[in-house]
């Protein structure tokens, strides 16, 4: 299990474009030319809330993620961070 990213300020990489879809969202990185998927509408809400939240955890809270679901969202956000779709926002 990678370290938690919940306490960190994250945002979408400026290279990445997000398109909501019925099943969640498509993410396209103009940097790597890769397409990825968010298979969950709530994960999309979290990602969209990042820009206006101080931490990833706050974004989860404002998207209505229940505390028991936090680990799953933490893992998904870490993977998005590792693949460069999310980046850490300069404080």
């Amino acid at each position: 299990m990678p370290d938690s990213v919940l306490h960190r300020p994250l945002e979408l990489s400026p290279d990445v474009s997000v398109r909501p879809e019925p099943f969640g969202a498509l993410l396209y990185s103009f940097g790597t030319r890769r397409l990825s998927f968010l298979k969950d509408r709530r994960l999309l809400d979290v990602v969209q809330a990042l820009a206006t939240s101080d931490t990833a955890q706050q974004a989860c809270a404002s998207a209505g993620v229940a505390p028991e679901s936090l680990p799953a969202f933490d893992a998904a956000l870490s993977r998005l961070l590792r693949t460069g779709l999310l980046v850490e926002r300069a404080a």
Partner: protein
């Protein structure tokens, strides 16, 4: 956070906008390749004007289409080609374009290098001039290799795009070496019996043994080789290959042709697969979202004669266009079914009864140096959906 339905099923039901949109800017082409999927050659006088093209780009931007695959014909022979390219990339629509290299000189290469939202793909159908020029025409190998050289010098990493044929499948390692020499990424695609491809399919399409060798080669070398949705019918051999493993026609894929007609797939230019025109009220978005044809293609498909096949989940019956233009039922096996059911089905098709495209812009009487492989029929081939339109990264 898993959805009950696999992602591929969502794709099968369609998306709000295409992922893999091909836009052929012109039917004009300097070449006359024998297997051209769009029967290109002569410019169509009804071609979309510069302003109409820009309006289409504006619409793609609104729909958040991430990128378009531009082709033709030879798109770079349009005098507004570079203008449209810049217009698209400055409106959040990335461009991947496919060319035979005719206009790719040192200056063009620098221009491409300077725009990080542009990818270029050079078409070449033989790793040697003799094999290539037999289908693409005399001098086309040199043109392509010269273009690769300019791109390499400018620091661009192009794609080298190959339509796999009976004549060139023995050259896979040579293609890879050629791509490596120019810092290019190899892209292998399937020959479909579309456009003039129907005229030469019997002579050019790979044999069953070659398909098996190709599959083994892709399993061994496939990680860095792009194939789009070309070879998912080979998944019936066992392992599925990277790329889009379903027919995305009308669901994630479609074509806008040079006169604005929208078809389910670049390999399906035929009335049966015509969904509308971007010039009509509501434009492309309305065609994509509401055309009866696309809505029908997004309905759950029955496997037909394939339903009882143990490989159906991987192969899904193969390519709709390949079936259509060889005269096979759309809900049965692909003509190149690896289990041999396609051949069996083909043997029952009355010769000469397979449907033909009615959209033909072939040069009358061929072009100088045109292909000589099949003297009866001459012209050019090409690409569709770029790399795996689908990376394998799926989150949650």
């Amino acid at each position: 956070m898993t959805t009950a339905v696999p992602l591929v099923e969502h794709f099968a039901l369609g998306l709000d906008a295409p992922i893999c949109l091909t836009w052929e800017l012109t039917y004009a082409c300097n070449l006359a390749c024998a297997h051209c999927l769009s029967s290109s050659g002569r410019r169509d006088p009804r071609e979309l004007s510069t302003d109409e093209c820009k309006a289409v780009i504006d619409e793609l931007q609104r729909m958040q289409v991430f990128y378009v695959n531009i082709g033709g014909g030879e798109p770079t022979v349009r005098s507004d080609f570079w203008e449209l390219l810049d217009y698209a990339t400055s409106h959040d629509v990335g461009v991947k374009f496919s060319t035979n290299g005719i206009k790719v000189d040192a200056e063009a290469a620098r221009r491409i290098a300077a725009n990080s939202y542009v990818d270029i793909q050079i078409s070449l159908d033989g790793a040697t001039a003799d094999v290539n020029d037999a289908v693409r025409g005399v001098g086309s190998y040199d043109t392509a290799v010269r273009a690769l050289g300019h791109l390499h010098d400018a620091g661009v990493r192009p794609k080298l795009s190959v339509v796999c044929t009976r004549q060139n499948l023995g050259q896979l390692d040579e293609f890879k070496a050629l791509a490596d020499r120019y810092g290019a990424q190899l892209r292998l695609t399937r020959l479909r019996p579309s456009g003039r491809g129907a005229d030469v399919w019997d002579e050019l399409h790979p044999t069953a043994d070659q398909q098996r060798e190709l599959y083994d080669w892709l399993v061994a070398n496939g990680e860095d080789v792009l194939t789009g949705d070309s070879f998912f019918h080979l998944a019936a051999y066992g392992e599925s290959l990277p790329g889009l493993n379903l027919c995305g026609a009308g669901r994630v894929v479609c074509l806008i042709d040079p006169v604005g007609d929208v078809y389910a797939c670049p390999f399906a230019i035929a009335d049966q697969f015509h969904a509308g025109n971007v010039r009509s009220e509501g434009g492309f978005a309305k065609v994509w979202r509401e055309s009866p044809l696309f809505l029908e293609l997004r309905e759950p498909q029955s496997g037909g004669a394939c339903a009882s096949c143990d490989a159906y989940d991987a192969c899904r019956g193969g390519c709709m266009a390949a079936k259509f233009f060889t005269g096979l039922p759309l809900d049965g096996p692909d003509p190149e079914c690896v289990k041999g059911f396609g051949e069996l089905a083909l043997s029952k098709v009355e010769p000469g009864t397979a449907p033909r495209t009615t959209v033909d812009h072939s040069h009358k009487g061929g072009v100088r140096g045109g292909p000589v492989l099949v003297p009866l029929s001459l012209r050019r081939p090409d690409k569709p959906c770029d790399e795996s339109p689908v990376s394998r990264e799926v989150f949650a």
